[in-house]
């Protein structure tokens, strides 16, 4: 009955101005960017954790490389990415399971962004303090 409908290819040129989508478009882009950032971290994380298979020395040696302020800032970025991705993901799930919520999508985006920023404020202070104490 229902076969996969193969539609004609419609390659178009990449020419023109940026589409000015609103909050929804930007939250979607942020969701993608944070998602990719997190998965890249996971690749590195799988590798460094697996190093323990070569014994604690190997592991410690590699993990010590992480102990510098730049990685500290990257960690802060990672926390931000995870929190944003989680909160925005919850918003998407609400809209998925309760279509009526899409009437308030913009408000929901402002809500999740607000919670995100409120959460990031103390986290940033704590982590920056830690970086300063460790390295300077």
């Amino acid at each position: 009955m229902a076969q996969r409908t193969q539609r004609r290819a419609r390659r178009t040129q990449d020419f023109g101005s940026l589409y000015k989508g609103r909050e929804g478009q930007w939250s979607w882009i942020a969701h993608r960017v944070t998602g990719v950032a997190i998965i890249l971290f996971l690749f590195a994380h799988v590798v460094d954790t697996a190093l323990v298979g070569w014994g604690p020395d190997a592991y410690n040696k590699v993990v010590r490389v992480y102990q510098n302020p730049i990685v500290g800032l990257l960690e802060l970025g990672l926390v931000a990415a995870v929190i944003y991705h989680a909160l925005n993901g919850l918003r998407i799930m609400v809209i998925d399971f309760w279509p009526k919520a899409s009437d308030w999508n913009r408000q929901l985006i402002y809500g999740t962004t607000g919670v995100f920023l409120a959460g990031m404020l103390p986290i940033t202070i704590i982590m920056l303090k830690h970086i300063l104490k460790e390295h300077f």
Binding site: R7, R10, S17, G21, F97
Partner: protein
């Protein structure tokens, strides 16, 4: 061989209450007769003149000059092959529309009079009956630009119009088509479609209702 795309600039005078379509007419009639654009009704109902206006999809006949003056950028809608200037090949768009069987399916013998329906049943799909197939929603969708196979918001809106119609019996078939990997679940809820619809259809909401119908086979 197609020439490279380019921008052209025209300076014209217009009343603030003129429509952008009037301004485009002026360009075509008095400045550059080769300018190609589609329009028919000029009153926001035929769906011919969806364009990318200052970075957002809209109907040129529903945008007033005062909303965009002094400088406006008009581009063809995105994600469909440009044929000339503001005219795109709408065929891939209509293929998606046709794929969802946009007609009443009912195997029962035709009744002597209308197929009756309660006001509540009618209200279920009222919003999606408003579609004029202008493609403003579909060509505002980042997923549609990137995925050549994605059926697009407009097709889903029109599927919604029949899936939730109590007189129709083709919902199962349509849901099967839309559960395909190029179907309704490609939607990432960016809401660009809802913002772009010149008829004010809550497009994303309709898509979400169809997603639910696919998941729970409830409609």
């Amino acid at each position: 061989m197609k020439p490279e795309p380019w921008w052209d600039e025209f300076t014209i005078e217009a009343e603030p209450t003129d429509r952008l379509l009037d301004a485009l007419h002026y360009v075509k009639w008095y400045k550059d007769g080769t300018l190609a654009l589609r329009r028919s009704c000029a009153h926001g109902i035929c769906g011919s003149d969806a364009m990318l206006i200052n970075g957002r999809n809209a109907l040129a006949c529903k945008v007033l000059v005062k909303e965009v003056a002094p400088k406006v950028t008009v581009e063809p809608i995105r994600g469909l092959p440009v044929l000339k200037d503001l005219i795109v090949d709408m065929e891939p768009f209509f293929e998606g529309y046709k794929a969802i069987l946009p007609f009443l399916i009912n195997a029962d013998d035709p009744p002597d009079r209308e197929r009756l329906q309660s006001p509540e049943d009618r209200a279920r799909f009222d919003d999606t009956t408003k579609c004029i197939l202008c493609a403003a929603c579909t060509t505002s969708c980042p997923i549609f630009w990137g995925d050549e196979q994605y059926i697009g918001p407009a097709a889903i809106v029109n599927a919604h119009r029949f899936i939730f119609d109590s007189r129709d019996q083709g919902a199962e078939e349509r849901l099967e088509i839309l559960s395909d990997q190029s179907g309704v679940f490609r939607c990432r809820t960016t809401f660009n479609c809802t913002e772009a619809c010149p008829r004010g259809i809550k497009v994303t909401k309709a898509i979400q209702e169809v997603k639910r119908a696919v998941m729970f086979r409830r409609f």
